[in-house]
Subunit: 110 residues, 2 copies
DNA sequence: CTGAATCCAGTCGGATACTG
DNA sequence: CAGTATCCGACTGGATTCAG
């Protein structure tokens, strides 16, 4: 949540971690993969995230180039978040995590 | 680092996050993928992690069934960490992260 | 509806010193 | 060498309030 940009480490795995390892970012990605969502929709679909933190992590991801933020000057205001190509390119990671999680739970249930 | 076991959420992506989202766990996985390592080797290869936290996260991963801990009763003591099949099954996620990180850095350099 | 600002508790994790 | 215990600063993130 720091204001300063994070430095990119030498290891590719660390590079990825730097951009998506915050508490809610992976879930934001998961929920935006199907398409554009409004702020309120995201907040509801993610679950227990607070407004402050959701805003902060969305802004960080915008700065990282993972998503775009579009403000519609209406009353009441409407703000939509959409993954960029870069953000969408994280899909293989999300898919791998989903696949693994499913297999893990299936195993735990025997 | 909590002592209590973490609950598994409904979403598979969250399940995965629950098990590997701590600060150093992905790097531990990365470094154990090639094979068994001693505590000191891990500490060196991971980088700036402190001894206390590395120990704690390794123990959590052991409890989660991601790795095994083998103590050799020698002087000086030797402790080796090895991924279980379950831990090794996370490889596709690690690979996806590495691939993405490489592509990202390549793009940043034009 | 979205978001900024403030306050604050909980935790994470680093540094250090000590043990077998 | 590997691990434990203690201390403590820093940061994360939730709750609340106010604003446009």
């Amino acid at each position: 949540m720091a204001a300063a940009a994070k430095e990119l480490p030498a290891c590719p795995v660390e590079t990825t971690l730097t951009l998506i390892s915050d508490k809610w970012k992976v879930l934001i990605l998961r929920d935006l993969m199907p398409g554009t969502k409004r702020f309120g929709e995201l907040k509801k679909s993610i679950g227990s995230v607070s407004q402050k933190v959701l805003t902060a992590q969305l802004r960080e991801m915008e700065r990282s180039g993972l998503l775009t933020r579009t403000v519609y000057p209406e009353v009441p205001p409407r703000v939509e978040y959409t993954l960029t190509d870069l953000g969408y390119s994280l899909k293989p990671i999300l898919d791998a995590m989903r696949n693994w999680g499913e297999a893990y739970k299936a195993q735990k249930q025997g």
